[in-house]
Symmetry: C2
Subunit: 192 residues, 2 copies
DNA sequence: CGGTGTGAAGCGCTTCACAGCG
DNA sequence: CGCTGTGAAGCGCTTCACACCG
């Protein structure tokens, strides 16, 4: 909205963009602690800063990537430069051909270097982009080196110590879900 | 579980794997309509079939992919063969170098062929893997050809007619979320 | 006992609704 | 008026708790 030149914004405008209700937006902003005025709504720039203060990393937070296959490379390219303070600073793979090289601007290390690199760079978040059969083992290794958060692309429920945050990105399930509702929509259309 | 040779399973076992409570599992299975017995729990094979009958496509449901860049190719490779009745049967890109070729076993068409291919193959679900700046336009084009469900990888909230299902896969937000909680976990550790 | 199925209660997020204000 | 901030109500999903059963 900033780039569109907007200075002020009302809760119902934010609501429309986020596909929620205006009451929801106001509630959430209450949590953030930023207050608007009934006359002008919220000041876009200040609001952005207030949210950032609450949610953004205060300094560069390095991220590790494990698995530099098709998916890993795509993630590397996709995330690159998208969030200034969240960057994948180290990638790991067991393929000797990749190790030592640089992919999408990121250095690829051997799996055995994982503990050393993670502790040296102070990494506490990792992305798992390995085959499902290896995901659990990789997760355990990451957690044992001190990682606190995981993004998991493998279609497996990881078993990890509690206190470790796992966010699953399950494309297969997402596709099944959409396909299910799309079928319903088509059926409904036919019924008419 | 089938491949592990399990024949029967109790709700609390399923619960542990899915990281939910056993009551939740029993509730959900009530919805599915499959009944177990207190003695044997659920019969894995029958349960699988009952769930499939409720959720799986009755026949091959073709899916379109728009955008054959890094991400699109990774999605193509990842989804390939994962669900027998959900397959990406057509990919689209505006890059003339890709058009006419085959990527990960999937034919790549020009954007202009989209309506014809979608209607010929009876596609009702599409995956959007184009840059954020083009996602909205692509979504509108897809919807106008009759697509009912979308998976959207672009970090943009798509505005679509209601009745159209959109599932956002937002890696950036997922990473921010995990990074946030990982920071909290680290802080807590320091406090001790 | 240790399971399932399920009515009823619990709980937390979402929405309502309205005072307050320029 | 029209918008914000927020107490209170609403609403659904989740959990409890228990009858029933081999």
């Amino acid at each position: 909205m900033l780039s569109e030149g907007a200075v002020n914004v009302y809760s119902h405008q934010l609501a429309a963009r986020a596909r929620v209700t205006s009451a929801q937006v106001r509630r959430d902003l209450m949590t953030v602690g930023y207050e608007g005025s009934p006359q002008r709504g919220y000041v876009v720039e200040d609001l952005l800063e207030a949210i950032g203060k609450r949610l953004d990393p205060p300094a560069l937070q390095p991220v590790a990537l494990v698995g530099v296959g098709n998916l890993g490379r795509a993630v590397l390219a996709f995330l690159r430069g998208r969030r200034p303070r969240l960057a994948i600073t180290a990638a790991f793979d067991r393929d000797p051909v990749l190790v030592g090289g640089i992919v999408h601007g990121c250095r690829v290390y051997a799996m055995r270097d994982l503990p050393a690199v993670v502790s040296r760079e102070g990494i506490n978040v990792a992305i798992i982009a390995v085959p499902a059969s290896e995901a659990q083992a990789v997760a355990m290794e990451l957690v044992s080196t001190g990682i606190k958060g995981l993004i998991n692309f493998a279609p497996v429920r990881l078993m990890v110590a509690k206190g470790i945050v796992v966010e699953d990105i399950d494309m297969t399930t997402a596709l099944e879900k959409v396909a299910y509702f799309a079928r319903q929509a088509v059926e409904e259309q036919v019924r008419k």
